[in-house]
Assembly symmetry: C2
DNA sequence: GCGATTAACGTGTATATGCACATTATCTGC
DNA sequence: GCAGATAATGTGCATATACACGTTAATCGC
């Protein structure tokens, strides 16, 4: 039997949603591959960098700046805490938790950022500056679809 | 304390990857909301419709046409099989499995498609035909990033 | 036709995502 | 200052995603 790609050739999907989802997977894969040596996924690096900028932050606060669901953020913190890159401790307000980077976390974020810049540059080269700007504008508009 | 959105106002992310990921979540959420009455997510509806077009298909074949990882497809079939919308049975080749729609699956897909058309139309209206075409082209190029 | 290769699939593990519901603590109006 | 509203978090459940590894069966080279 021939290779499966020759039997099922790629063709554009009529569904705009699937197109965005597939692009998201592809771009995520691309960034994750570039970031691989850092041991971080692009989602994790983003979390660390956002934390660095917002530190010390609450879980809800981090969720808000990253625009990720609060409960998702809650769980996404776990592997990073387990890896010793951040700490989650009781906040001043007894309802809140304080999330803070560790030294290891700061270091990992710095190393990741170097690789991230490579990925950014590669994507810019790939799309061209103009198309990248158009894409960014369109994505922003799409994001506004969500309430 | 003020509402959290006033403390952490939205601002564009410098990371192209995150922008795509967020847009993906937003558009998925939008489609899923429209599809809600059908009881299907956009990913599930897509699976059913692709299956309808490719029936009878193997798991790998379905994965290829939908451009989803084979093992992901394997697991995504489970809830739909549990809901009685499709069946997974041994294929002619003893290595393969045959995936087929049930009558309930065909019906669910048809109902879902009506709602899906609404979502498609709404998005087209929201972005405008021209921008939608631009977006589609850009997303296709992004998807080509993945090997 | 036999051994090596390849194809198709399943599963363990891990991350990511978000809804519904519950808990606890602060705050607000009176 | 107490009752009700609100805020911040945690958890159960379900889906989606994919890598690494293992299994089984067909295929290919000779």
């Amino acid at each position: 039997m021939k290779h499966i790609d020759t039997v099922y050739p790629k063709k554009p999907s009529p569904c705009n949603c699937l197109n965005v989802r597939r692009a998201s997977r592809a771009v995520t894969d691309f960034y994750d591959t570039v970031l691989k040596p850092s041991g971080l996924t692009v989602a994790q690096l983003s979390l660390l960098l956002n934390l660095k900028a917002a530190e010390p932050a609450t879980i809800g606060g981090l969720a808000a700046v990253t625009r990720i669901d609060r409960t998702t953020m809650n769980r996404n913190l776990k592997p990073l805490a387990d890896a010793g890159l951040l700490t989650v401790s009781p906040g001043g307000d007894s309802r809140t938790r304080q999330v803070a980077l560790t030294d290891a976390g700061r270091e990992a974020a710095a190393k990741g950022k170097v690789l991230w810049r490579e990925a950014q540059a590669a994507l810019k080269e790939y799309l061209g500056e103009e198309d990248l700007a158009r894409l960014t504008a369109l994505l922003a508009k799409l994001e506004a679809l969500a309430p």
